[in-house]
Symmetry: C3
Subunit: 340 residues, 3 copies
């Protein structure tokens, strides 16, 4: 199995035009921001265009338009996001090959208690005094710190790192693939290999039936002291700050960053690619649709509780809100007119 | 164990009046639309009354009122829905008996990788080059296509059919019972046996902690190319069209049909018995309360994000929306009056 | 391992001032309402102050202010809730010790069918004619009634009691820790040991991927005849009344009490510490923010479904609702003025 690829073979696979030195060999793929020498990168979202000037990537996948503005080596394609999706699987296979080389049995100290029917993959390490329940699946290259408690039927995918004193309740999933894909011309979807992993700090508690997805390129991160209730969803590349707590059904979409010491009531969801600063409280069922830059308490959520008949009468008016607001402005004008 | 029942014994169990030829023997139960000769059917929802004229069912469970309008053979009961619930268990047992007769060990090619502590039931078939993780439970009569990846702790119930190149992430459940029951006179609930299954096409990806319930009579269907994020719920007899994608927490209630190439943002829920056409986008946290007949982007969702104090002040006014709208109409009238 | 503690050692650990007889030994910890002689209790929420006059607790953890009004024996601390959190782990260990003494193999009648890779802990009892699927984890001291059906990958924690004819679908979790913690001075969180369990009546059906948390002090209770769809969350010490049904994604926060014969549509959430009376219907996606005292149908939920452009225009006005309402009042006044 291969662990690096030539620019030519990548260009051929992607039907890309090579601009620059084709003798380079590429060993990894990463974002413009995190790419190092030897890495391939891509620009698929114009919000990140400025990073073209700073990236250390050896080659960048670009559209015709963006390639015109770029001095470095690049591969020109019709749809850079789809090209990234297609080539991501080559690098996923390369990573796997790299890790397999040094496959050693898991290291499990005698102070660890392990339940029945639990499996732990190659190269994994369990910390002293940890308790792993029954029917737990721990993948390869997983590290779990000391005094962890992993309850039955938890699934931990390859490469996940979990700190000490972690508690993970039953049937939660750590490290499943982030939800990333690019659309093909025929309307079907090309999966993007999720090359990052999940990194969890110390003293983190995760409830039952939670899902924490692995990152697309870099890791999803849960910092120390975070406490999560049940049915939480943390999408790829999200970052949750120290000591933040989230009640049941809270969800954080891809690449969003939540600060320290935040308190989210039940069913708070945060859209992708936003930032919530430290010390923010959010009330139940709020949808956080934009970044929050000042500490304080925030809300959106549902309309007030009332009997269904009343509610129907009022909610029907919601679709007239804009015209109501305009009418009020007009009435004010004409009322002023009369007073004159 | 029995695989067919006489009209007399069913009538006796249901305390039903027989109208028509009692010599018939009934081998299955199905909806008016799908029933064939030899099947029992029922009418419990007047929206389906017109189907009485077309059904091929050999016997139909009807209320006194509906029986008066029906020429075919029928069983007259007080509550047809409860009668259907009660008799559904007879046909569930019959189906099970039919399948047990030919109980053969699962067929698992040598190209399949299977993790530790995984069980695969009788009559199941796993496709070439598939990977099944550890602690997976696969029931009886399950078919999984080639190159499938089933991650740890997935549960697949009996009779489920999954196409090729499927990916199912950890702790998801495929084929659990749909949520169907009829109320008894004493307020308790009679479970309706869920006789359908789940049928999943090719190249479908299902995230972690998802649930896809089996159908009540016919199958729940996920068509090829569908991609689902985590914590998705697909209720019994829902149908999801080709290449439709759903972000985390999306839910589709019973018997709703979603078209092809739809894109649902996070936490979109669709109520039961509606149709969403092809090429529909729905924004985050929308509740789809009615059928959508034109392609486009649709929304409902929560109120805008603001600080909690502001939000409380505004949301409190929601219960006055209707009276506000009426006031505006009156003010407009009196303003016109003055202008005259 | 210890099963009771002296007042002195507790006071020393909590840095508390002892008021009253320090010779007492404390065997348990409970709420003011449920504490018996020999129990420690605490007052951390002024809504429960009146219970100080009635409690049978031998010692109560109090703030300086509350201690001034209390005649009984007490431990005075700066933060009673944090003190309760810290000491709760001593009593959790004591309970565990008590149970371990009589550790006997589980009792499993020959009429019970058990799937592959299922484990059942010490002191557990499975009822006659029950079916336990594969990869199920049943903890210690669990009791399951006769004719239960537990599907694959279900996790049942220690001490849970489940009645007869229960159905629990795959990957659900019964008895995971309630989400309770107290904040330390440095902003990190002290976990509160969850000393209660879960008690489930007869003929209860629980869907797939549900979570029912154990109680903090007393038990979480699901009464007979309750039917739950998938992805349900029942928090610690909630109580669900007989024959109540809940569609997918319904959640009940801590200590809330739901009456009998209620019907909750999908995604209804109930905030903590409220009561919903019997015979209440709640429409889809409603947030129940306060107690409901009269039977009937209730709603809050999302705004109506419309095209996204329209919706954006209207929802933007939501933040002006309060000022719109004020304008209408003013316009009415000035309109009256003119009519005069």
């Amino acid at each position: 199995m291969r662990t690096s690829f030539t620019v030519e073979e990548i260009a051929k696979f992607l039907d890309a035009e090579i601009r620059g030195s084709s003798v380079k060999s590429l060993k990894g793929i990463n974002s413009l921001k995190d790419a190092k020498k030897g890495d391939l990168s891509f620009l698929a979202n114009k919000n990140y265009s400025a990073l073209l000037n700073e990236t250390e990537a050896s080659f960048v996948i670009l559209s015709q338009a963006d390639a015109g503005k770029y001095d470095g080596d690049c591969l020109v394609v019709k749809d850079p996001y789809l090209a990234y999706a297609r080539i991501s699987h080559w690098f996923a296979a390369a990573r796997k090959t790299n890790k397999k080389v040094s496959g050693e049995p898991a290291i499990i100290p005698t102070s660890v208690q392990i339940g029945a029917n639990t499996s732990i993959g190659l190269n994994s390490v369990i910390g002293e005094d940890s308790t792993i329940g029954s029917n737990v699946s721990i993948g390869e290259n997983v590290t779990i710190g000391e005094k962890a408690q992993i309850f039955p039927n938890v699934s931990i995918y390859n490469d996940v790192v979990i700190g000490k004193n972690a508690v993970i309740h039953s049937n939660s999933v750590i490290g499943s693939d982030g939800f990333g894909m690019a659309r093909r011309d025929d309307g079907s979807w090309e999966k993007i290999a999720q090359l990052g992993s999940v990194s969890i700090g110390d003293h983190v508690e995760i409830g039952a039936c939670c899902t924490i997805d692995r990152g697309a390129l870099s890791d999803t991160k849960i910092h120390s002291g975070v406490k999560m209730d049940n049915h939480i969803q943390i999408a790829h590349n999200a970052i949750i700050g120290e000591n933040t707590v989230m009640a049941a059904y809270c969800g954080v979409a891809g690449s969003s960053v939540i600060g320290k010491n935040c308190i989210f009531a039940g069913d708070v969801c945060v859209v992708g690619h936003v930032k919530v600063c430290d010390n923010v409280m959010v009330t139940a069922r709020t949808l956080v649709t934009k970044s929050i830059k000042e500490p304080g308490s925030y809300s959106s959520g549902t309309t007030p509780l009332m009997n269904t008949q009343n509610w129907r009468r009022n909610t029907a008016r919601f679709s007239q809100l804009d015209s109501m607001a305009r009418s009020i402005v007009e009435l004010k004008k004409s009322s002023k007119l009369i007073k004159h």
